[in-house]
């Protein structure tokens, strides 16, 4: 060791080097942790996306079945003038499962998805008014078929 370098300098330099190494290691560790956390969050978010998609898809398949029954009911009513073919039809409703963890998906998507059943529900207002004031029974169901097709398609397109 050169006489110009004291023990204090050696200790100081190695302490500095060790501190720098520590800082770099800490930063790298934190970044790795963040990345791991991010990918875990992504995974959880995608599970929620899938939950939403599955429920919308199920709604669309139910909508298709109901559209078919309404069309058959209308045709039968127009051919036989028997209101029972329409009175027996079931309506379509939709509600997301309460188990969906909405706070895991971006607000934009949560708002879009959560608005969907409400808009669908509200759209019944026009049909009820039509039925009450001017539409015949079959015309009211024709409106309902349009509604089922429009929102059924909307639900499946929401997914794709």
């Amino acid at each position: 060791m050169s006489p110009d370098i004291t023990w204090w300098q050696v200790i100081g330099t190695s302490a500095l080097a060790s501190a720098i190494v520590n800082i770099i290691a800490n930063v790298a560790l934190k970044q790795w942790d963040h990345r791991r956390e991010d990918s875990r969050e992504d995974e959880k978010r995608h599970v929620v996306y899938l939950d939403i998609a599955i429920q919308l898809e199920e709604f669309s398949f139910r909508a298709e079945k109901i559209l078919e029954s309404i069309s058959e009911g209308i045709a039968k009513y127009r051919a036989e003038h028997d209101a029972r073919s329409l009175e027996a039809l079931e309506g379509l409703s939709f509600k997301f499962d309460e188990s969906i963890e909405w706070d895991r998906v971006p607000a934009e998507i949560a708002v879009r998805a959560k608005t969907f059943p409400r808009t669908f529900q509200r759209s019944q207002g026009f049909i009820m008014a039509a039925w009450r004031y001017w539409a015949d029974l079959d015309d009211a169901w024709e409106y309902d078929a349009e509604r089922v097709a429009f929102y059924g398609l909307g639900a499946i397109r929401f997914c794709c």
Binding site: A63, V105, P106, E146, C159, C160
Partner: protein
Amino acid sequence: MRSVSRSTGWERYAFAAEIRKKVGVSDDPQVIELIKVFERHIESRRAVFKASRSEDCVIPELRQQFEREGLSLLPPEDKPAAGGIFD
């Protein structure tokens, strides 16, 4: 909710991509058929709207969609006269 601020195009893309994967839109014949059923029904109602162009011939959502597509209601003077017995 960390991702809200990043809720940009890629989020929507990720959503769509995940959903596509789930429902297999491109190759699931059931989903393709489902879409076709709805589209056929809406197409038939488009024809009704095109022929009648009256405000209440379809539900408001469809009327708005058709209007966005360029089909609009006829101005009142062009509407066919209502030929009722009281006219």
